[in-house]
Every structure is written in structure tokens, then in C-alpha cells.
């Protein structure tokens, strides 16, 4: 293993450095220059600086060619660069959605935490070493815990934050325990080193324990059942913008690194979950987690009265679908997984963007509060319909194409495999269930009659533009999937698995 000097490391970490420096600039400006300005102006300035920093980082990512060094602690491949650029775009959207928010006076600190979380995600995506993975994950998680509790006036926000922190700490402990077992087993902390040791003894019991620990730890991050308990409370309690950040960017990064750890680190210990001959490995574990997530997420979502909790359970369900991409673990399924998680994040961000507006007007996030929204805010309702129908998988929106792509890649991984076929059957069947609860929301929005005194909803123009942009991208990526898909397939092929 070649050792990387600090100079090299710094050079490679330019995008992250830009993001972190921007974070400090934002706090400094907010505390020094904008002390006496109104909250709106402070948010505007902080978001402008933060977004500019993210754009700079994206530019830096695009400007130079990747180094393609596979053996070091951090890798730099076309794939990681594309995912990092995607994460930065999602962060920019979250920042733009928080313009005009009123839940806090600590504007600079809010943006700082979002940017630090983003830096954590960027490192996480590039990390190939257990220690680097753990530290980046903690940087991300700690930012998210605080962001969840950022609404000091709301007891629910504090409760959610504490719950998130306790569950998160526990899962981090599981992860760390698993990692330490892995280190003891393989005498290496890099994924490639571990893979070599796994290759020699794929059925070692210590390895199995470590594998389960890793699934528990990452399963918590991606909110897969049965490690999803934090999700409904956090989605409901956190300020909308924090919830949007948790539901989008952090999901993308976690899904990506989870895939890397499983497929690269545990290569050779996949095991098999064919219906007739089961051998132990991580594939059977993930099959169970995936089925549990699809069933629990979709069935529990039916009973929800609050749109945010509904989104939380639907996130569990979507995690279940996405785990199918792990079960297949081919290059194609990785491309499909990334397409899925990106389009899913865009739609989820959009829903939270709409929620930010309606909650300000209604005071809560109940589904019944959305009654007659289409008459009060036709544009927002139309966008909400696009987001929810995309999540339900209705063509020609991107959610449908993402599902199609994922399911075909899963079946193509092992043609003729009955297990994969049954998993896909379950997933498609559960999507039919999901249409029911998404339509229940839209029924409120479009079908229910308006109360007589209901006035048109006042929504900030800027927010509407951002939401409209999200809706357009969800529709566009569904109608012309080649735009993103070709790039994804290209970088996955170029970077290899």
C-alpha cells in the first residue's frame, strides 16, 4: 500500500476544503457583517455564500481529471467525482430551500452545519478505509443530530434530536465493533486489504459477526427496517430544511458507501440466497432487510396522518427497493441504484419544499390540512403531484424509470434466478400498495372541497422557483433518462467495481 503524503492528501481534498472554508466564511460574515440585519437578509446572504462555495467545489471537481488511485485511503475516480458533484447539487438545493425560513436566529451556524455535513458526505464517498469511513460518517451524523434539534422553540425537535442521537450513537457503536472485528480478522483497515483476507477465509465466524454489525450500522443510516425507528420522529420533529437534508444528501452518501463496503470489502463473502440452496453471506442478510423494509415501510405508511411521517415510512420502503441493487451487486445495478437514489432525493426534496410552504400557512403537517390545496396554490399542488407520483412510480416521471432500471438490472444479474424474480415481484407489488397512500395525499389536495374562507396560499416566489426547478428535473429525468444514465453507466464502467 502506497502511503499518501499530506501534500497529496490536501491536493486531493480540494473540494472538501473549499466547502469547509466556505462554512467558516459564512459564520464569520453572519456574525460580523450581518448582525443587525433581518433574519431574511441573513439567510439570503449566508445561503448565497454557501451555495457559491458548493458551486466552487463542483467546479473544482469537474476541472481536473481524476487520479484513479485505487489502493490508498481516499480514492478519486470518475464515479466518486460524479457522486460528490451530485451531493453538492443536493446541498445547494437544501440551502436554497432554507431561504426565508424562520425557525432559528442562528443562521450562520445552520449553514455551517449543513456545509460541514456536506464535507463529511464528500469524504465518505471517497473513503476506502474503515477509519476514514467511520470518521466521515461521524462528521456527517453529528451535524445531522444538531440540525435535527435546531428548532429550539419546538419540544418535538429536541425530542427527535435526542432520539436520533441515542439511536445513532448505538448504531455507531455497532459499526465500530464490526470494524474492529474486521481489523482483527484481516490486519488491515482498507477495503481492498479486507477483501483479500475475506477471499482466503470466506466462512470465518468472526467475519459473519462483523458483517451483521456493518449491516446494522449502515442500515440505521439508510433507515432500512428494522433499524428505522428514528426516521418517523426525526422526519416529523426536525425543521423542514434539516429533514430535507437528512432525507436526500445523507441518504445518497450512505447508500453509496454501504454499497462500497459490502461489495468491495466483503467481496467473496456474498453467500447465496437462492431458494433451494442457501449459503451464509451478506446477500441473505440484505434480502431479509430488504423484504422487511418493503413490507413494513409500505404497510405502515398507509396508516399515517402526517405527511412527514408518511414520507419517513415511504423512505423505509424505498430503502427496501434500493437494497435489491445490493443483492444483485453488478455494475449495472450500481448505476441503477445511483440513478434511483438521486431521483428519489430530488422528489423528496421537492415534497419537503412544498411542506415548508404549507406548514407555514397551516401550522402543521397533517395530510388533512392539505385539503383543497389545488385551489389555493395550483402551482405548488401540481409540483407536489409530480413529486408524489414519481415516488409512486408512475411514468413518465423519473421514479418509474428508476424502478424499471433497478428491477431489470436486478433480474439481469442472474437470469433465471427464482429468488430475484420473487423479490422483484414483491417490490412491484408493494409499489402498487404505495400508490394508494400517495394518492390519498393527492386526493386531499385535488378532490377535497375548499373551505369557504380559505384564501389563496401565499408562497414566496423564490421558493416556488426552486420547487418548480425540482419538479422539472424530476419530470425531465423521467422523459429523457439518457441525460443522467449515460453519465452514470460511463463512470461506473470507467471506475470498475
Amino acid at each position: 500500500m502506497d502511503v499518501m503524503g499530506y501534500g497529496q492528501l490536501l491536493e486531493r481534498a480540494w473540494p472538501e476544503i473549499i466547502v469547509v472554508l466556505t462554512a467558516f466564511v459564512v459564520v464569520a460574515c453572519d456574525l460580523v457583517a450581518f448582525r443587525r440585519a433581518t433574519a431574511g437578509a441573513r439567510f439570503g446572504a449566508a445561503v448565497a455564500i454557501g451555495a457559491a462555495g458548493c458551486v466552487g467545489a463542483v467546479w473544482k471537481l469537474m476541472a481536473s481529471a481524476p487520479v484513479m488511485n485505487q489502493t490508498s485511503m481516499m480514492v478519486d475516480t470518475p464515479l466518486t467525482r460524479l457522486v460528490q458533484a451530485g451531493l453538492l447539487v443536493l446541498t445547494i438545493v437544501v440551502l436554497l430551500l432554507s431561504v426565508g425560513a424562520q425557525f432559528t436566529e442562528h443562521v450562520g451556524e445552520f449553514v455551517l452545519l449543513v456545509l460541514l455535513g456536506t464535507a463529511g458526505m464528500l469524504f465518505l464517498v471517497a473513503a476506502q478505509d474503515l477509519l476514514a469511513i467511520f470518521i466521515s460518517l461521524e462528521l456527517l451524523s453529528l451535524s445531522l443530530y444538531i440540525l435535527t434539534g435546531f428548532d429550539k422553540a419546538s419540544p418535538r425537535s429536541a425530542e427527535a434530536s435526542l432520539k436520533y442521537f441515542l439511536f445513532g450513537g448505538m448504531s455507531a457503536a455497532f459499526l465500530l465493533f464490526g470494524f474492529s472485528l474486521l481489523y482483527g480478522f484481516s490486519h488491515s483497515t482498507t477495503l481492498s486489504g479486507i477483501a483479500m483476507a475475506v477471499h482466503e477465509q470466506p466462512h470465518n465466524p468472526i467475519l459473519m459477526v462483523a458483517m451483521v454489525m456493518a449491516v446494522v450500522g449502515f442500515g440505521f443510516k439508510i433507515a432500512a427496517a428494522p433499524f428505522h425507528f428514528w426516521a418517523p420522529d426525526v422526519y416529523q420533529g426536525a425543521p423542514v430544511q434539516s429533514a430535507a437534508f437528512i432525507a436526500s444528501g445523507s441518504k445518497v452518501a450512505s447508500f453509496f458507501i454501504f454499497f462500497q463496503v459490502m461489495v468491495l470489502g466483503f467481496a467473496g463473502a456474498e453467500g447465496s440466497a437462492s431458494l433451494t440452496r442457501m449459503t451464509s453471506g451478506w446477500v441473505p442478510i440484505l434480502v431479509l432487510v430488504s423484504c422487511a423494509s418493503m413490507l413494513l415501510g409500505n404497510l405502515a405508511a398507509i396508516a399515517q396522518m402526517s405527511l412527514r411521517r408518511l414520507m419517513a415510512y415511504s423512505a423505509v420502503a424505498h430503502a427496501g427497493y434500493m437494497l435489491l441493487g445490493y443483492v444483485a451487486h453488478t455494475e449495472r445495478s450500481l448505476a441503477a441504484l445511483l440513478y434511483y437514489v438521486v431521483t428519489y432525493s430530488l422528489a423528496t426534496l421537492g415534497v419537503f419544499g412544498v411542506l415548508a410552504v404549507t406548514e407555514k400557512a397551516n401550522g402543521d403537517d397533517s395530510i388533512s390540512g392539505l385539503s383543497g390545496l389545488s385551489r389555493r396554490a395550483p402551482f405548488l399542488s401540481f409540483c407536489l403531484a409530480i413529486f408524489l407520483l414519481s415516488l409512486a412510480g408512475i411514468p413518465p416521471l423519473s421514479g418509474f424509470f428508476a424502478k424499471f432500471l433497478l428491477f431489470t438490472s436486478v433480474l439481469a444479474a442472474a437470469p433465471g434466478s427464482m429468488l430475484l424474480l420473487w423479490l422483484v415481484v414483491l417490490a412491484i407489488g408493494m409499489s402498487a400498495v404505495s400508490l394508494f397512500y400517495y394518492l390519498r395525499v393527492l386526493k386531499r389536495v385535488y378532490v377535497a372541497d375548499v373551505e369557504a374562507q380559505a384564501a389563496p396560499l401565499r408562497a414566496p416566489v423564490f421558493g416556488q422557483v426552486v420547487i418548480g426547478f425540482l419538479a422539472a428535473s424530476v419530470a425531465l429525468l423521467g422523459c429523457a433518462p439518457d441525460l443522467l444514465l449515460n453519465a452514470l453507466v460511463g463512470v461506473v464502467r470507467a471506475s470498475g467495481l
Binding site: F382, L389, I394, P395, P396, F400, F401, F404, L405, F407, T408, L411, A412, P415, L421, V424, V425, I428, G429, S431, A432, L435, F436, L439, K443, Y446, V447, P481, D482, L485, N486, V489
Partner: protein, 503 residues
């Protein structure tokens, strides 16, 4: 080339109506009518131009290159026939919803979206594209029923959507499996139909995909969405639902399930309850549908439910015609699609628009007291004509369609002809009963007092009714017009697997 514009114009029109300013809302029905007439004319011109019935390409562009999915629109005699039906029902549906006042822009926007998607399904050659259009149909249906519907509309709309979505989920599983099994290169119908799927694969894929489409075609016992949905829907939507949307299911059965997996209809090699293949199973289900629909229609109190269940019965004929696997039976099924599309549209127009919108009741006994044959003579006249056509009186479309299907059944399943005959007789009975109770009952009693006198039948309604009656007569008197394009389509290489697989 022009045919693709039927889709584009409908979708663009839907968008334009949504963006129409509130003060021009009244114009939306005129715009919608205009666009529907234009798309109908395009379909008509294409029908006249392509007398050979052979398949021709409308648009073929690469779409999702990495998956081999193309934006591929083609038409042959069968799809041209159904496009023509879609256009005609689309125009008449707007004429019969001239009285919609509540959220009128959204109503016609969703209506055009629905029509555009239906055109899309009939035109698509790439199965991915077809599935996209097939699913787009689901959403406007829901809102049209849930917002503008009547009796238990939200329940009926959700039931209909879930049934449709479960059906399309079954289709999607079959499509993905077929796509992967054929090497993930192309989803064009011709390429997949040319691939030799293993008999084992076809044995499970065929019933899955066929049943998935047949849910939308109202196959017993998965038909229960249809009567409730039709009854709850506003007039134009029930016309479209029964007229063309149910045909999407039948079209998918023929065009996708039977074409891709012809061996799935072969014998199992054993008999279970006297059934030896999936073909037998679906044929028997179709016959049960014919009888069940007719007998249940015979005892309904609600006028619209009579028509709703009669649709189940008539759709049973279509599925049975498909399962005969001989040319006359399948051609008959396609003609029956057109015939039932026209007649169901006409009957729902009479019941929903001419009668219910004026009397606000659909209860047959209550209607009898109103002496409708005197109060609304045009409605009575139209229903009598539609009823005669639906019973299968020679000269109307129903006669020739059902005759061809019965001939086909006679060759394929001689024993089933008896049950079909019972179904035909019951068909006469329920139409007769409904006609008598709704329009000609209570001669000896005084007419019931009404708060408001019934408004006379308006001009758009008359035009729509005359158009549909005329269409039924054209199909009935000149069936060769359609058979001449359907036959070459069935003889095309696309159906060669089906022809070798037992017909």
C-alpha cells in the same frame, strides 16, 4: 407521420387548458372539442390512406439508447381501427359533457390527457413506451371520477385505480422478465415476438401478462372495479372507460400477451377440472363473464349498473373471441371492441347525461313514474336504437361482431356455444327490462310531479347521439371496411408465432 400528432395535440391541449386564464374558462370545452375533432380527423385520414392494413412506421427515434428502448410508434389495421374508435368516442364524450361547470378547465385538461395516452397505447410499438402510456391513463381516470363523479365516487375511483395498477404491475413483471430473458437488448414488440422464449417461461409469463391486461378488460372475477367505476364516473368518463379504456386491456391481451407468449396457450399435458391449458381457463372465465354480467344486469335497480354489468358481459365476448385462436374469432373480437366501444358509449351517454343529469335519479322504478318516453322522446328513441344494436339486431355493429365470435367459438369450443347462446338471450332480456322500466313503464299512472320540468335534449347531445348511432350502423352494414384491414394485420409476421401455436 401525422398519426403521432394525435398524441402530441392531446397532451399539448391538456397543458394549454391548465394554463388557460380563469376568465376564459368557458372556452375550454370549445378548445377541447376542436382538438378532439382534429385528432379524430387525423385518425380518419390515416385509416383511409392505409387500406392495406399492413404495419407502417409512424415515428422511430432512439430514446434510451443504453437500454435499447426507442420512441417507436407504428400502426397496423387493428390499431388503426381502435384509433378511429378512440377519436370518435373522444369527440362524443366532449359533446356529452357540455354541461360540466365545476372546475371546467381541469376537467377537459384531464380528459385530453386521458385521450392522448389512449392514442399512445394503440400506437406504441416499443413495449416500454406502451407501458408508459398505459400507466399515464391511470391517473386522469382517478381524478375524473373522484372530482366529478357521483355515487360513492372516491371509493370507486380508488378501487378502479388499484385494480388497474395491480394489473399493470403484473404486466410490468412479465415485461421485465421477458426483456431480461431475451438478453436486455430491445423492447420492440417485433424483436421480443421473434425471440424464442422457453416453453416453461411462456407458461408462467402468458397467464401473468394476459390476466394483467384482462383486469382492465373486465375479466370475471377481476371485474369488480368496472361496474362501480362506471357508475360513479361522470358521463364522459364512463363513455371513455367503457368505450376505449377497457379496450386497452383487450388490445394488450392480443397485442402483447398472445403475441409474445403463444406457447403459453399450449396444453399443460394434464387436465384439471377438465381444463387442459391456460387458453381453456381464460375461455371459461370469459364465458362466465358473459353469463354473470348478463344475469346480474337483469336484476339491477340502478339504470347505470345495468349498463355497467352489460359491459362485463360484452367484454367477455371479446376475451372469448381472442381465445378461439382462429381468424374469424379474433377478427370478431376486434370488431366487437369497436362495436361495444360505440354502444357502451352511447348507452352511458343516454343514462348519464340525457336521463340522470336531468332527473337526478337512476332508480328504474322512480324513472318509470316520470313517463320519460313522453318527457324525453329523443332519449327514449336513442336508447331503443342502442338497445337493439346491443342485443345484436342485424344491421347494427353488435350483430356482425357477435356472429363472428360465435362462429369462431363453434370451431374452437363447440360445447361453450350453448352458454354463449344463453348469454345472448339474457342480453335481450336485460336490455328489454331496463328499456321498459325506465322509459315505458307506468302508462296507467299519473306522471310524478317534478320540482322543475325536465330541460329538453340539447343540440350537442343530439349530434353526439346521431354520430354514435351512425357509426354503429356503418360497422354493422359495411363490416368489410374494417375486416379488410384487420385480416392483413392478423396475417402479418408479427402474429406468426400465434398462428403456428395452435390456430
Amino acid at each position: 407521420m401525422m398519426l403521432a400528432w394525435t398524441i402530441y395535440i392531446s397532451f399539448a391541449g391538456a397543458l394549454a387548458l391548465l394554463l388557460l386564464p380563469q376568465r376564459f374558462a368557458a372556452w375550454s370545452r370549445v378548445i377541447a372539442l376542436l382538438l378532439a375533432v382534429i385528432t379524430f380527423s387525423i385518425a380518419l385520414v390515416a385509416f383511409v390512406e392505409h387500406r392495406s392494413g399492413a404495419m407502417f412506421t409512424v415515428v422511430h427515434r432512439s430514446w434510451i439508447s443504453s437500454l435499447g428502448i426507442g420512441f417507436d410508434l407504428r400502426a397496423d389495421g387493428i390499431s388503426l381501427t381502435l384509433l378511429l374508435l378512440t377519436g370518435a368516442i373522444g369527440v362524443c364524450g366532449i359533446l356529452f359533457s357540455w354541461n360540466v361547470e365545476h372546475r371546467v378547465r381541469e376537467f377537459f385538461a384531464l380528459y385530453l390527457l386521458l385521450i392522448g395516452a389512449v392514442y399512445g397505447v394503440f400506437l406504441s410499438y416499443d413495449l416500454f413506451l406502451q407501458f408508459v402510456f398505459y400507466e399515464i391513463v391511470v391517473i386522469p381516470k382517478y381524478f375524473l371520477i373522484a372530482i366529478w363523479g357521483s355515487t360513492r365516487r372516491e371509493y370507486a375511483a380508488m378501487k378502479l385505480v388499484l385494480y388497474s395498477f395491480i394489473g399493470s404491475a403484473m404486466v410490468l413483471i412479465g415485461l421485465i422478465a421477458a426483456y431480461v430473458a431475451s438478453g436486455s437488448r430491445s423492447l420492440a414488440l417485433g424483436d421480443l415476438a421473434g425471440f424464442a422464449f422457453t416453453p416453461h417461461f411462456q407458461m408462467w409469463a402468458f397467464p401473468l401478462v394476459f390476466a394483467g391486461f384482462a383486469i382492465l378488460a373486465g375479466m370475471w372475477p377481476l371485474h369488480t372495479w368496472a361496474p362501480t367505476g362506471h357508475v360513479a364516473a361522470p358521463t364522459a368518463t364512463s363513455m371513455l372507460l367503457a368505450g376505449v379504456v377497457m379496450k386497452l386491456g383487450a388490445y394488450g391481451c392480443l397485442r402483447v400477451a398472445m403475441t409474445l407468449f403463444p406457447l403459453g396457450m399450449g396444453p399443460w399435458g394434464f387436465h384439471f377440472l377438465g381444463l387442459g391449458s391456460w387458453r381453456d381457463v381464460f375461455a371459461v372465465l370469459a364465458v362466465i363473464g358473459i353469463l354473470y354480467g348478463a344475469l346480474v344486469a337483469l336484476v339491477q335497480r340502478d339504470f347505470k349498473f345495468v349498463i355497467g354489468y352489460s359491459s362485463i358481459s360484452h367484454m367477455g365476448f371479446i376475451l372469448l373471441g381472442l381465445m378461439t385462436l382462429n381468424q374469424i374469432g379474433i377478427s370478431g373480437a376486434v370488431v366487437q371492441m369497436v362495436s361495444h366501444g360505440i354502444l357502451a358509449g352511447l348507452m352511458f351517454a343516454v343514462v348519464g347525461r340525457m336521463v340522470y343529469a336531468r332527473t337526478h335519479t337512476r332508480d328504474l322504478t322512480a324513472l318509470g313514474r316520470l313517463h320519460l318516453s313522453k318527457a324525453l322522446p329523443f332519449a327514449a328513441f336513442t336508447f331503443v336504437i342502442a338497445g337493439m344494436a346491443s342485443m345484436g339486431l342485424p344491421g347494427f355493429s353488435g350483430f356482425i361482431a357477435e356472429l363472428m365470435i360465435v362462429l369462431g367459438v363453434w370451431r374452437a369450443y363447440p360445447t361453450l356455444v350453448i352458454f354463449v347462446a344463453i348469454g345472448l338471450i339474457a342480453g335481450v332480456a336485460y336490455i328489454w327490462r331496463a328499456m321498459q322500466m325506465a322509459f315505458f313503464a307506468g302508462r296507467d299512472t299519473e306522471p310524478a310531479a317534478l320540482e322543475h320540468p325536465l330541460e329538453p335534449i340539447t343540440m350537442p347531445e343530439r349530434i353526439g347521439a346521431v354520430l354514435l348511432i351512425g357509426a354503429s350502423l356503418v360497422v354493422g352494414i359495411f363490416p368489410q371496411l374494417f375486416l379488410n384491414v384487420i385480416r392483413p394485420a392478423l396475417e402479418s409476421p408479427l402474429f406468426s408465432g400465434l398462428r403456428q401455436g395452435g390456430w
